[in-house]
Symmetry: C2
Subunit: 260 residues, 2 copies
């Protein structure tokens, strides 16, 4: 099932995507809700980020090839993480599918996409085992962990490098039924394929992260965990369009503009 | 004016604190709202965190004495930050005044309070000057940036060091009228004063942070910025009670328990 969130006639609703239609839902998928009779043409609504997360978790470095290849390019030693320590991203930066990423006025030309699987929590999880983890997942969406690399290397923390407004596209919807081991992440810039990797080929898989996190923080419905990217992102610039496809979910597409 | 958020008879509302009473408000202080005729005794309600932030910003190191004294104790060189780079804390960790901080099972005995002024944004701010900044502030509350120092030194990032469940007490309410330069932050453990510092004696003051942040991220109503702590926090343990008073706002009090 594909859950989306949209605005139509000034009202924000959740909905279920079926072909070219959205079936309106009263309430939200994480609480009691009812599926209405109302169908809207998909093309007629404004798609929003599929949920506003409670806590916005992000794994950061979580693919071996990414570490090795980035190290080869930068000449710095690559560090494979030793444990599933989670990080964070910021709510202000979220935008939906099809809205532009806006490069801040003083951003350098070292701005890059990162295509990521996003886990959406559906059921409270505290002190869970790895075996129990996936039962607490509601579904999956796609994230672009857009980054300004000069700031990432020079600033304290990742604030503007990773969290400038519009730097966190998420969507287009939440897919509840996937086969993690069959999924591929495909990244295209202006239609040209740039990366193609097995989505579930992570250093620490989703159950490992969820189990470890849950020893310290209750995962709650509406939390999201961005799972990191593989491959070697390239620079993109104003005028480019980035597409992140994850097979079994869909495609998140965002163009890039420069702030005036 | 003192704004609080509370639960009474299963319903969550905002309210205005007047002496021993709370005047119930319909709606929230950041949007259209109406002050009702209903008064509740303050002692009869469950106080909640005074708001659920949209983005949860935290300045981290922001007092010169804190850097110098901590360096003297640890024997490591103290780093005075060179620019107002913001950081983040996590929503899962928030608890209100008077709820216990729960130490995770495997936390070491190096757990410490940090008493901080919290800025609550009231009006959207993008590309603002320092002079304009305070016009965008709704009010101020108090935060305890509770920390597990062993994890803080050893983990990637601050996830469980700073963001374990219950590690971010915030409250008791939001005060809209303060004189920043007159305020003092006083920290007590079990009634004994441990620190006492000028609240506004920051390395980068509130307008400096807000102006710089606003060049990259729109500050929105309901965002919070925790402004850092001064002094040298001491270890606290299960059974202790930490009080953080900021004159002109009030006192945030939380006891400490060990997870079972």
């Amino acid at each position: 099932m594909r859950w989306c969130r949209f605005e139509s006639e000034g009202r924000i609703s959740f909905g279920i995507v079926e072909g070219d239609s959205i079936i309106k839902v009263d309430g939200n998928p994480f609480e009691e809700h009812s599926i209405t009779e109302r169908r809207l043409p998909f093309a007629n609504v404004n798609l929003l980020v599929p949920l506003i997360p409670r806590t916005f978790y992000a794994a950061g470095i979580n693919y071996r090839d990414h570490v090795i290849k980035m190290a080869a390019i930068t000449g710095r030693e690559g560090q494979i993480p030793q444990s599933a320590d989670i990080g964070y991203r910021a709510h202000n930066a979220l935008i939906p599918h099809d809205q532009p990423i806006i490069l801040p006025r003083d951003a350098t030309d070292r701005t890059q996409y990162e295509g990521e699987l996003v886990v959406v929590i559906g059921k409270r999880a505290k002190h869970i085992t790895k075996e129990e983890a996936l039962d607490h997942v509601f579904g999956f969406t796609i994230g672009n962990d857009f980054s300004e690399r000069t700031w990432q290397a020079g600033d304290r923390g990742l604030w503007r490098a990773k969290n400038s407004d519009t730097f966190k596209p998420m969507g287009p919807w939440i897919e509840t039924d996937v086969d993690l081991d069959q999924m591929k992440t495909i990244i295209r810039v202006n239609g040209n394929e740039k990366d193609n990797f097995k989505t579930n080929n992570m250093i620490f898989d989703i159950p490992t992260y969820m189990s470890r996190m849950s020893d310290y923080m209750a995962l709650e419905p509406g939390d999201v965990i961005w799972m990191g990217t593989d491959g070697v992102p390239e620079n993109v610039k104003a005028g480019d369009t980035v597409e992140i496809e994850i097979t079994g979910i869909g495609t998140l597409r965002n163009s890039i503009e420069k702030e005036e």
